[in-house]
Subunit: 446 residues, 2 copies
């Protein structure tokens, strides 16, 4: 029995490792077009920021380590075709351009996602980069000493993490976001706190502004939008990613939401013995009760592990997500889980929201500060539907407590009853989670 | 209608404020023998550490602020007697030694707890202090410049927080704990990590050692135990607290666990119209299904608020605790919730435990480090009964997520399914809570 995996980052290697542990006799080969494997892509902004000294630190495990475990990882080898009937793939060795056919009994597609590059004039100029892998990060790092002004197109997770990275290098930063707000997965009032924070730090935030073209000779020199022109020695494209699903589609495998590879909760695709996991697929969203395309590292790892388990003979179902996410930009933390107001409306929930000012820790302890917390609550039932947190250090990871409540379909009364940990360095005497629940209860009565 | 409150810290003032908000026409008088009111007692070690510049910062609200709210707070007035039949209290003005009788319609006893002072030889020598209120802290601060060696008797929350405070002042610190381990509310293997950490930092940790007497002329000079003698320029007594329940007992009010004032979950004592809340009472423990004496600031606030609500005409029941606690000592954080192995045995639970090494954040992000996490799981059901965390910054507040799981009677499979927040500055890609659940699942199978 042979498992072939396409893709050697989070989902692919989690699957390979789990399958090998569960079924040691399984022959496993992993193919990737990249040179690096098993790298922490979420760490790239911090590598660029130079919080991480060397890119080697981002590598969780090497080819040699996988080899010892009995997993063969083949790099710089592009899978060009999947033949489901023959149960083979066609692989091109990128070093010598030679093709070979590799057979499989089970196949896992973990091809990930690629940054979206809109077909704008000048998009192919030099010094326009994405933040996808280690070579990207190295190119950006190399360009930083030649850069005074950088334009980041896109104000989501990666765009804002890159703000932090460039801020540390003292660059003049402009963020251009097409939507009227940063961070499209939180509400505009919460996103407003982020924009204010960035402006205070001297970052130029242009939301509701559409990039039209890039100007320059060989390298980019400026970015033209529908509202103005911005000089740029470097541009980062971070408007989102799209699933690498073309290979699967060509093989007749069904696609689903946002062109991701459609799977069931066992991570099986529409074709027998072919699985998919990670950023090339969607994830079952427990509150949507449907698939959602929210590609995140932690989901990719979980899906990969589960696919590996099932390929090795298991019968597990993907647990589902509720849209939990977290980030930091400069001194500000952002956390979110469940539904935001836009999502709650789309799902036709009858809801109300409460927004309160919250302390991160005791008001007399060094490092204390204030943030904002929003709860989205179902009318009638009082069920917690969603939560958003923006504020200073220590605020955002509280989102996990609310996530546990949402998984358990807790009401605001359930949440207000939690016995949460208090000591001055960690929390005010009423943890913000309890404060928010109590305020939501008061509002419910009215 | 008049509410009289005895005690003007967490429970007493929470009750007064809540009762006033709910029923503005209520006349409220609060009596305290102390000079200070509404102070954050949990902040005292950090005030001593000089992380907090002035003791005023510990004061949440002043007498004048309460007056504006319509609440009369009378300081330096000792309540000497409660007369339930007459519905009066006898108050002694400590400034002029005059007594007066004050009537009430409802009475709340929120007299708190006092540090236990064992009747050992020399216990009344100078420079033997407790850490209960601002005058205590000021005395300790005054003695620090004259101190080279300090002995802390007791290795619980306060004892260890005082280690941190004195460490910052560069003192030579000895901790003497009668039990074989520090922190009696966590398991010995977890407590061992704390002892190791303190020893590495140069703190002299003597556990399983019983203090027999204190020697000195006027001031303490040494501490004699059953194993040796330790020189001391100052001694901190932190072996625990006992509820201030004598006043209630004298009035014929029923006492309960550890001589705390017995209340029902509405915070009513055995005598009509007399309530009690905070450290002078016990708290209903949801896992014990019985009262437990675990005096903590957050519980006192909740009980006080609830008592105030009920006094104002409400009909609420105290939510119950599950024993969640958190602390830090030097660079180490400690969190616990639910049952430890001793408690699980006492409750005759059939359980197993898993202990794993956990990272606080991504292994490549600055500030990363390793800690230990223990899960206590019910055999058969797989229900999570308890959790303990010890480790570097960012580890311990995760206890809240597990607390939410325990409140919801989640199993390890439920816990493994949580969609928790991941980004490198906050978490490894598998949050420790998920890692622990997965390891417990593997162990469950065997």
């Amino acid at each position: 029995m042979k498992l072939v995996v396409i893709g050697a980052v989070a989902a692919g290697l989690s699957a390979a490792s789990k399958a090998k542990r569960e079924k040691p006799e399984l022959e496993i080969e992993v193919y990737t077009s990249e040179e690096h494997i098993s790298y922490g892509a979420c760490g790239l902004p911090y590598y660029i920021e130079e919080k991480i000294g060397s890119s080697e630190k981002l590598i969780a495990r090497t080819k040699e380590e996988f080899k010892k475990q009995g997993i063969k990882v083949v790099t710089k080898s592009l899978v060009e075709q999947i033949n489901p009937e023959e149960k083979t793939i066609l692989v091109k060795d990128l070093d010598n351009d030679e093709n070979k056919t590799v057979n499989f009994d089970s196949l896992l597609i973990a091809t990930g996602a690629s940054p979206i590059m809109p077909p704008l004039d000048g998009i192919n100029l030099d010094n326009i980069f994405t933040v996808k892998n280690i070579p990207d990060a190295d190119k950006i790092k190399k360009q930083i000493p030649n850069t005074k002004k950088v334009v980041i197109v896109g104000g989501g997770y990666i765009g804002l993490e890159m703000v932090e990275a460039f801020y540390a290098h003292g660059l003049d930063i402009t963020v251009i976001e097409m939507a009227p707000q940063l961070m499209g997965n939180i509400d505009s009032d919460m996103a407003g706190v982020i924009a204010e924070h960035l402006k205070e730090k001297g970052v130029n935030v242009c939301s509701g502004e559409k990039v039209e073209s890039f100007q320059g000779e060989k390298a980019v020199e400026s970015v033209k939008t529908d509202k103005g022109t911005y000089h740029a020695d470097m541009v980062i494209m971070a408007i989102g990613v799209s699933p690498n699903s073309q290979l699967a589609k060509n093989a007749g495998i069904k696609l689903g939401v946002k062109n991701s590879i459609k799977t069931n909760r066992k991570m099986e695709t529409s074709v027998k013995d072919i699985y998919a996991a990670g950023d090339c697929t969607a994830a079952y969203h427990l509150l949507y009760e449907d698939d959602a395309y929210i590609p995140l590292g932690t989901t990719a790892n979980k899906q990969g592990r589960l696919a590996g388990e099932n390929i090795a003979g298991g019968n597990s179902h993907f647990q589902g997500i509720i849209g939990t996410g977290i980030m930091k930009v400069l001194d500000l933390e952002v956390g979110r889980t469940g539904l935001n107001t836009r999502e709650a409306k789309q799902l036709e929930k009858d809801f109300y929201e409460t927004v309160i000012t919250i302390p991160n820790i005791a008001g007399y302890y060094p490092g204390h500060g204030k943030g904002k917390m929003k709860l989205i609550v179902e009318k009638g039932s009082g069920k917690v539907l969603g939560c958003q947190l923006v504020g200073p250090k220590g605020i955002a990871k509280r989102i996990d407590t609310v996530a546990a409540c949402i998984h358990n379909e807790n009401t605001i009364w359930d949440m207000a009853k939690l016995d949460l940990a208090y000591a001055p360095p960690f929390s005010p005497v009423w943890d913000p989670v309890l404060m928010a629940a109590n305020v939501a209860i008061n509002k419910f009565k009215k």
